[in-house]
């Protein structure tokens, strides 16, 4: 029981779950980043990896995960490409032992272009990584400087080539648009260049100034202004078209892939699949239960060493809130969500307001479809408005 009075719903033991490993170490701070990261602290890494390994082994004894298959593994950060190949190897082996139902369908790792050579990549591949996400962020020197990245455009191109040489056949890139000084035309040109370099997957994120970041402080001090909303809406809208020319299709608000190369790990998340997050600050969710680990490497390690749970905040959602989250996540995907199927699980009193919110969004041309509901082109720009209505 929790303060909402909701009771955790037991997961389906037959359904596989995704496993996310957070590796918070970075060689430098990016001013826009709102994720939990630490710069340096190399001396703590070995203990950290041990703690993560321990958390995976402990999860194997957790009745919510025990005996289930792991469908996908995703190493995110921070900068997981700083992980030694042998540590990746060890963690994947641990996962295989802890959840022996069969090898994962997808093992992804986020990599920073600087210092990423062929040997390092070959090592990661040998350890079992099959999908790479390169943190390009921009192909323009000015963009990379504003985003306080430590690599140049040429490092991005070189990293892609090295990945190919190391044998990676599934490579995605992350790009950020809407940085100060970039207009819509410039973005769309840059995006076209990126696509023509031949990648399987593009994540194109609008730059978001998250509270508490250095970027937010610089904005508040008046050091820069983002492009106006009209311009940023044009960037957002034009992205589809540019990528489609290269055979890269939108499958989520900010994610695009050649058919068959969608990130399964993230797709599972948008389809409300269960997720085990391990490592400092990692978030997990199993049916209607959510929890997040402490955002501090030392405390995380200390808790693991003491055999305590690293979970900090936990919550069990009441049926309606749970459904609203599921609908929002599902609507973010181009395929949309089978609303009828999701709402069938609810009592009428919980179902009616959600239906009403969707009907209102349909009347405003933000969503379309009766049973399987999707965001319209306009609705993609107002996804949060729809979510807001679902939560009302």
């Amino acid at each position: 029981m929790t303060e909402s009075g909701a009771v955790p719903v037991p997961p389906d033991p037959e359904r596989p779950f995704g496993l996310y490993v957070h590796f918070p170490y970075c060689s430098a701070r990016c001013h826009y980043c709102a994720f939990y990261f630490v710069v340096g602290r190399d001396e703590t890494r070995a203990a950290y990896v041990d703690a993560v390994q321990g958390e995976i082994e402990a999860a194997a004894r957790d009745p919510r995960f025990a005996g289930r298959r792991v469908s996908t593994v995703y190493f995110g950060g921070g900068t997981p490409s700083l992980l030694a190949a042998k540590d990746v190897d060890r963690l994947l082996a641990t996962i295989g032992r802890a959840f022996p139902g069969g090898a994962p369908n997808e093992v992804s790792l986020e990599a920073n272009p600087d210092g990423l050579d062929r040997e390092r990549l070959a090592g990661l591949r040998a350890a079992g990584v099959r999908r790479l996400t390169l943190g390009w962020q921009s192909l323009r020197a000015e963009g990379l400087r504003i985003l306080t990245r430590t690599h140049g455009p040429e490092d991005n191109v070189a990293a892609l080539a090295a990945a190919r040489e190391a044998g990676f056949e599934n490579v995605g890139v992350d790009l950020i648009f809407g940085w100060p000084g970039q207009d819509a035309d410039a973005w769309l040109r840059e995006l076209g260049e990126a696509a023509s370099l031949g990648v399987e997957h593009v994540s194109a994120y609008e730059l978001t100034v998250e509270e508490g970041t250095r970027l937010a402080r610089r904005r508040d001090a008046g050091r820069f202004h983002l492009a106006d909303e009209e311009e940023r809406a044009r960037m957002f809208d034009g992205t589809d078209e540019v990528l489609a020319k290269h055979g890269i299709e939108r499958y989520e608000i900010s994610n695009f892939a050649r058919p068959g190369f969608e990130c399964r790990h993230n797709l599972d998340g948008w389809r409300s699949g269960d997720l085990l997050g391990v490592g400092a600050s990692a978030a997990s969710h199993v049916t209607n239960a959510r929890w997040t680990n402490v955002s501090d490497v030392d405390e995380y390690v200390a808790r693991r060493v003491a055999g305590a749970s690293p979970a900090r905040a936990s919550e069990v959602l009441p049926p309606r809130t749970w459904a609203a989250e599921d609908l929002y996540l599902g609507l973010r995907t181009t395929a949309g969500i089978d609303v009828g199927e999701r709402l069938r699980l609810l009592a009428e009193a919980d179902r009616a307001p959600l239906r009403a919110a969707l009907d209102a969004a349909r009347a405003d041309h933000l969503v379309e479809g009766e049973s399987r509901v999707r965001l319209t082109r306009r609705g993609r720009l107002f996804a949060d408005t729809v979510f807001d209505a679902l939560l009302s």
Partner: protein, 601 residues
């Protein structure tokens, strides 16, 4: 029966914070009415809100007994407390009418202030004997000589007659009561004449109904007799009479000159009207005591529940407040923009604020309060006069012969350095200066006539800011004068928003329209469509602003693990949106309905 010459009825008048409550507490402990420890809490102010605001909202009275140490003669001293704010000046005048003397307190460092003067006028108007008292003479910033000179200038008389005290430190306080007994005349009145008792205050008790606080002028008020209110002829059987200490002390009767309370099964406080005369139904007086007027609302505002389902709760809450506050008036009103609510009438701006705060705090109601307006006298071409309490009630211009607006007489006391600023402000607010007197070489008293409507929009704040808080201000309603007033409407996407209409002077309409549109543009959040804000007089648009459409509202990065964080963010924002109202297609924050008040001019 107490002989008249053993009674002294008095009040304490002072500018706010000059030490009225502290002195009252001193007198209570000097006379043994309550112990010194109990006096710490300033017992005369017993509403929570009063304490917070440091003002006395409702009048009370206390009976004290004192024996002259030299002659051994016992006296009854009735302290009648007075409300300390201009909104309640009628109630103040009735409390003063129940007394024969007044202690006029002046802070020895602050000196004479506007409220000192307006209260003094009221006291002199009631023929009270004034005993000037300089308080806080022990404070480091005190200038007793300078302030004493001001007081002597104001009152005339001998400087030695000004009492020099510190109520807090207990300096000079022992001289106060003997001076009062010596100088304040005993009450006049005829104990054998037909009963006449003045109601100077009333309160509501949930078990006993309305309780009238009275000063018996002639005759005797007895339990078990039938009394009659002269204002409306209503008759009641008296359950109980008594005197007031820190509670009710029942007695068989109250005779001429005495102060006390009457409980007579009166259900509504509105039936015990301040200023009314009580007489004996069996042997009635024919002439009422002078000075009774029906208290009139001078400020009106619409109160609407944010959630329309709270309408009933709002009505119940107003009903409950009305039990204790006869000067609060309300009636149902419907707004196209805001739905069902109430038009409420108040004595003044402070009264309005207090009622709104109590509704929100004690009854936990979310309210939208519309722009306050004053009552206008509108003369139509068919020869009728209508009192207009809301812009929406204003007849069409073609039907109006003339409009008259309420005028106040105001006193402003200010250091001479700020005379220029005051004059500039007064001119902006259409005031006419009627006189100026130097209280001493550094301070001046300026007399003005202001349209009341000009001081209900952020006047006090402005006055404070242009004089760094050194100005004091007080006023009194004096009458009505013709003025070219017009109704200014606000339209959102072409639809008039009745709750945003205001009545404004012709020469100010353009400026108001422009500022109002600008202000609304700031406070109305962008929506999925463009919003046109227009100000119009009749069909003529005089100002316009546009709020561009929101182009997007989407989180770029959101994965399964981030969703709860995102939801919490939205839920947090939702708290802030609670005070929004849907007006046609446009969502308008509560703030918008008060933005008129915040316009810089």
């Amino acid at each position: 029966m107490i002989e008249l010459d053993r009674i002294r009825n008095f009040c304490i008048i002072a500018h706010i914070d000059h030490g009225k409550s502290t002195l009252a507490d001193r007198l209570l402990s000097l006379t043994g009415t309550l112990s010194a420890e109990k006096a710490q809490g300033q017992v005369l102010d017993n509403m929570e809100l009063e304490k917070e605001r440091g003002i006395t909202i409702k009048a009370h009275a206390v009976r004290m007994e004192w024996k002259d140490p030299e002659t051994g003669t016992p006296y009854v001293l009735n302290l009648i407390d007075t409300p300390g704010h201009v909104d309640f000046s009628y109630e103040v005048s009735r409390s003063l009418a129940a007394c024969e003397g007044a202690l006029l307190i002046v802070d020895a460092s602050q000196g004479v202030e506007a409220q000192t003067i307006s209260n003094l006028h009221l006291a002199l108007g009631n023929d009270l004997e004034i005993i000037p008292v300089l308080n806080k003479i022990d404070l480091p910033g005190a200038e007793p000589e300078r302030v004493r000179a001001q007081v002597v200038d104001l009152l005339g008389g001998d400087p030695d007659d000004v009492l020099m005290i510190s109520a807090k430190a207990g300096i000079g306080i022992e001289q106060i009561i003997p001076t009062m007994v010596k100088r304040i005349p005993p009450p006049k009145g005829d104990p054998s004449a037909p009963l006449r008792a003045l109601i100077f205050d009333s309160a509501f008790d949930q078990y006993r109904g309305a309780v009238a606080y009275v000063r018996v002028v002639d005759g005797t008020l007895r339990a078990g007799r039938t009394i009659r209110f002269l204002s409306n002829g209503a008759e009641y059987l008296v359950d109980e009479v008594g005197t007031l200490r820190l509670g009710w002390m029942p007695k068989a009767e109250l005779s001429a000159g005495e102060v006390g309370y009457v409980i007579a099964g009166v259900k509504h406080i509105a039936d015990t009207k301040v200023g009314d005369t009580i007489t004996d139904a069996a042997r009635p007086a024919t002439e009422p005591l002078p000075g009774y007027v029906e208290a009139k609302s001078m400020v009106f505002s619409g109160f609407y529940p944010i959630e329309s389902e709270d309408y009933e709760d709002l009505r119940d809450a107003l009903e409950k407040l009305k039990l204790n506050d006869a000067s609060l008036h309300y009636e149902p009103e419907t707004s196209m923009a805001l739905g069902f609510g109430f038009r409420c009438g108040f004595l003044g701006l402070l009264h309005r604020e207090i009622v709104q705060e109590r509704l929100e705090r004690e009854f936990d109601l979310g309210l939208i309060a519309t722009v306050p307006t004053v009552p206008y006298h509108v003369y139509t071409l068919d020869g009728e006069m209508r009192v207009i309490e809301s812009p929406t009630q204003l007849p069409r211009p073609a039907e109006i012969e003339r409009i008259e607006e309420p005028i106040i007489r105001a006193e402003i006391v200010v250091p001479t350095d700020y005379i220029g600023n005051i004059m500039k402000l007064a001119q902006e607010r259409r005031a006419v200066q009627t006189g100026m007197e130097y209280l001493d070489p550094t301070r001046v008293l300026i007399h003005y006539r202001f349209p009341l409507s000009e001081i209900i929009f952020d006047f006090y704040d402005k006055l404070k800011s242009i004089t760094r808080g050194y100005a004091s201000f007080d006023y009194e309603f004096v009458g009505y004068e013709a003025a070219p007033m017009q109704k200014l409407d606000i339209l959102l996407n072409g639809d008039p928003v009745d709750a945003l209409s205001i009545i404004v002077h012709r020469e100010k309409a353009y400026e108001w329209g422009r500022s109002l549109c600008e202000k609304l543009k700031e406070v109305i959040p962008r929506q999925q469509f463009q919003i046109a804000i227009q100000a119009a007089i009749g069909n003529k648009v005089i100002a316009r602003e546009t709020i561009s459409a929101l182009r997007k509202n989407v989180t770029a990065k959101c994965y399964g693990g981030d969703i709860t964080r995102k939801r919490k963010l939205l839920e947090k924002q939702k708290e802030g949106k609670k005070r929004m109202k849907q007006v046609g297609t446009v969502t308008v924050p509560q703030e918008a309905f008060l933005s008129v008040l915040k316009i810089e001019r």
